[in-house]
């Protein structure tokens, strides 16, 4: 097992499996968030359900997500260090041929998403006052409306969704290849389902800050 974790393929498999857990989470989280368009009662009831009624389930999910994020980021960090060390002298000229913008922004986009995740948790789950001075523990709907009343946070969230779009576009395609289960194709670089997943998740998430910014949610 230690051999597996130490190998480049093993770490990539860990990154892929934890990534799948996180893809499942963002799909569910996005769907849940959209209830904000059904009014404050519905949305606050949903928040109460997660924070009180099924809190044991919520904690189990939180632990799984915490472990997944840590392993995902750790394997990415360690593999990146190795990959950078594998070419100590850079080319004076190198032209990318087929690699996507998404694949080339996985690392820094991932770093942004990680920082965003901390801010997001601080803002809506942990209630850090410097992020959201008016934070109310029982007022999920109001917290969202107040946070996205500030253009800065709308921009921070939309940029995060841009990187999440790229991250999912490359990640959901690459993971099946990392796990050795993708279908063989004449054009393996072409992908349709990953684009659909990435768009559904990021557009769904973006509707919330946009809805507040445009005055649809108030």
């Amino acid at each position: 097992m230690l051999n597996f974790w130490n190998s480049s393929v093993g770490k990539k498999v860990v990154m892929g499996l934890t990534g799948l857990v996180l893809v499942g989470f963002v799909l569910g989280h996005m769907a849940g968030n959209l209830q904000i368009f059904m009014g404050p009662e519905r949305y606050n009831a949903y928040a109460r359900l997660l924070q009180h009624d099924i809190i044991e389930v919520t904690w189990a999910v939180r632990v799984a997500l915490f472990v997944s994020v840590v392993l995902h980021a750790l394997s990415a960090w360690q593999l990146t260090q190795r990959n950078w060390a594998a070419r100590p002298v850079e080319y004076a000229v190198r032209e990318s041929q087929v690699s996507t913008y998404a694949s080339r922004t996985m690392r820094w986009g991932g770093v942004y998403l990680f920082v965003f995740l901390l801010l997001h948790l601080g803002q809506f789950t942990l209630g850090w006052k410097w992020l959201l001075p008016e934070y109310m523990p029982e007022g999920a709907y109001g917290n969202v409306v107040l946070a996205f009343g500030r253009p800065l946070w709308v921009v921070v969230y939309l940029v995060a969704m841009f990187f999440l779009l790229l991250h999912l576009f490359h990640g959901t395609w690459a993971v099946l290849r990392t796990l050795g289960v993708a279908e063989a194709k004449a054009e393996p670089l072409q992908r349709r389902l990953p684009l659909i997943i990435a768009l559904v998740v990021t557009v769904g998430f973006s509707l919330v800050p946009l809805g507040v910014a445009l005055g649809i949610v108030r």
């Binding site: 480049s8 990539k12 498999v13 190795r82 060390a85 594998a86 190198r94 290849r177």
Partner: protein, 261 residues
């Protein structure tokens, strides 16, 4: 024959593995568009020799695109601008009169520069030694039809076996990963019945060796596939990963047998 061309060259010159390198500029005059890229360099080298200067060192052997010996970074692209082409099979008609061309060796920690554009690719040999073979009793060849192999498997195995070990996949990969080479060898043997007994041990051994050599890991940029003169698909990397996972799960400790001679 159309007119000749003048080409400006910017070439990485390095006198030895430890020596510091730098770019030097040359002008190749009267270059025939029909000449191969290496023939163009031969002419430049002849002129350098006449001036009493060191010729540009580069690797080459068959000059037919099948041996895997040649290879260099040409304007930032492994083996140059033609797809499915080795450097020796690239022709000057792919360039225009007055073009400026930058030449660099394959850059990877595991491919130390020996001189100028020549790198040491023996790391690839050590990856093969770590499992890229089958263990069989040799003797008189058996009947060709004694071991039936489905056409799809035979074709796919042959696609992987087309790898000539030139190292362009490493050179083109932003991570300097050797995954496509290793995966091609694992796929070519693993698709055939003769390769089955050692299939998973092979994947474990060869992956461990490529890590040990200091190559990077695969992040599926896809650059290797575009650079490969034999068009080997990244689907083989998927297959290697699958074999590695199965190998990890099914691995059994080696038994020490007493009295086995």
């Amino acid at each position: 024959m159309s007119g000749t061309m003048t080409i400006k060259l910017r070439v990485w010159r390095q006198s030895g593995p430890k020596a510091p390198g730098a770019f030097a500029e040359y002008t190749a005059r009267d270059v025939s568009p029909e000449s191969s890229f290496l023939e163009m360099l031969d002419v430049v080298n002849d002129a350098l020799a006449l001036e009493g200067k060191d010729p540009i060192a580069f690797d080459h052997d068959c000059r037919e695109g099948i041996c895997g010996m040649c290879g260099m970074m040409i304007n930032g692209v492994a083996h140059g601008p033609s797809r499915l082409t080795t450097t020796c099979q690239l022709h000057m008609r792919s360039f225009k009169d007055g073009d400026s061309i930058t030449l660099e060796p394959w850059r990877a920690n595991a491919f130390p520069v020996i001189r100028d554009l020549v790198v040491d690719r023996s790391a690839l040999d050590r990856i093969i030694q770590a499992g890229g073979f089958i263990s069989v009793a040799t003797g008189s060849p058996q009947d060709a039809n004694a071991l039936p192999i489905g056409k799809a498997d035979a074709d796919e195995s042959m696609d992987a076996a087309a790898c000539i070990g030139c190292g362009a996949c490493v050179a083109a990969c932003p991570n300097a990963s050797v995954s496509l080479f290793t995966a091609a060898k694992i796929g070519h043997l693993g698709l055939l019945p003769q390769g089955q007994p050692e299939r998973y041990r092979r994947a474990l051994g060869m992956v461990a060796q490529m890590d040990l050599e200091g190559f990077g890991g695969c992040t599926l940029f896809g650059e290797c596939m575009a650079a490969c003169p034999k068009g080997i698909s990244i689907d083989f990397i998927k297959r290697m990963n699958g074999d590695y996972i199965v190998g990890t799960v099914t691995r059994r400790p080696e038994k020490v047998t007493l009295g086995s001679g």
